[in-house]
């Protein structure tokens, strides 16, 4: 199972998590871990998700999340978790 890290950064407002989670649920993407913090007044959320049951390919998901981010005024990125594991774990 290749896990994907989704990060959401932007100005805090009502419903960001709801919108992102709705998208993930609609596309059969399972959330494994979720955490959130505020850094310098900016909303930061990280989700670790499993996309293996989703009918959509990684590129498609990344693109749609990017568009969803633009809609709600935040930056949404999807990245394979390997880049973080490699950098921070030996």
């Amino acid at each position: 199972m290749k896990k994907t890290v989704i990060t959401v950064v932007g100005k805090d407002r009502v419903g960001i998590i709801a919108r992102v989670c709705t998208y993930l649920a609609d596309n059969s993407i399972n959330i494994l871990d979720i955490s959130q913090t505020i850094i310098q007044d900016f909303f930061n959320m990280m989700m670790i998700v499993d996309t293996s049951k989703s009918p959509k390919k990684f590129d498609e998901i990344a693109e749609e999340l990017d568009r969803l981010g633009a809609e709600i005024g935040v930056l949404i990125k999807a990245q394979h978790e390997d880049i973080f594991n490699r950098m921070h774990r030996i």
Partner: protein, 454 residues
Amino acid sequence: MINIHEVIETNKMIEQENLDVRTITLGISLLDLAGPDLSEVNNRIYNKITQVAKDLVATGDKIQREFGIPIVNKRISVTPISLIGAPCCKTIEDYVTIAKTLDRAAHEVGVNFIGGYSALVTKAMTTSDELLIRSIPQALQSTERVCSSVNVGSTKTGIDMNAVKLIGEIIIETAEHTKERDSIGCAKLVVFCNAPDDNPFMAGAFHGITEGDAVINVGVSGPGVVKRALETVRGENFETLCETIKKTAFKITRVGQLVAMEASKLLGIPFGIVDLSLAPTPAVGDSVAEILEEIGLEYAGAPGTTAALALLNDQVKKGGVMASSYVGGLSGAFIPVSEDQGMIDAVEAGALTLEKLEAMTCVCSVGLDMIAIPGDTKATTISGIIADEMAIGMINQKTTAVRLIPVIGKSVGDYVEFGGLLGHAPVMKVNEFSCDNFINRGGRIPAPIHSFRN
């Protein structure tokens, strides 16, 4: 499992501190293509490169999307062409046809540079080597993406001073051939001592004869990340300073290793090495000179610069070596002048001279790099500068290189604009005292005593 702060740290490096993978370079052996018929050799070269590298750019882009890390350049290096052209190239023009073939292949697969228009003449030049070297001005004038290099010395063999003399003239000629574009041809020509076979960085990349059929080498970057990390330890002692550089270099290199493994897997081509070099770009915040300033110097070039650079280079290696299964190439801090805004500022402030840069090259990779000098500099003076730099490499058993650009029609104080990654630079002063009699002696400098270890 990974936590949010680690994720934020990584993405901050990418988004705000210019962390990127500078290049995925695909090395391709052309050794099996040599033959007596020039047009057939040209066809074979074109076909092999476009076949082996057909998915390189798309693969790089795919990795970039999936990991969210910019992969700035996709490039190709090939076997030194003087070896491939030997049976079929009888004139300068013959060699230039191969340069044009390489350029065409580079365009076809979409890479921005192809390296390996090269000759290895550490002891002496063969007829073919000399012909290739003499064809460089025309080759670089008539192509866009071809990069050339000549290895003129090594710790094991000494320095081929005949080649050093010739290459001084060739650099001037290359400058003349591209004078309407600030002599940009010289930005694609590197002279080496102890050139590595697996260097992924241009303009000096070639696919050495010790390599296999094809190989993936990756060059990482990240001066901005090191600079930002050091901002958090201002005023702390050297132990803290060095530990911070080491840890940061580890993180940067891990990304390079990941990208290299992934590219190797997707392309079905073996992974060669990760090159640990800190490679600056002209972008603000992506500068090695700024790291030196952060270490405590007013400008790069101030007293203390050589020591600061030595520790930086060493810590980058210490951190990087553990992060990758195979390290190679040039692996050190690059100090190109025109490609590093902090270096340019230092030259303009009068803090950094050619002589200080020479001292700096003793403790880091790679050499006198991307330095604009007056267009009326004598060929023998350029050869003298090259000889000095080659001697540093030969005696210290390290790679050194020279990439000087005598800008035709410009003199000290003038400004040169190369554009893109090659940047811009003020023309620097060169010591004008003569070394004619030294360069004109002919022959070679013998191998140094520490090459006799058997």
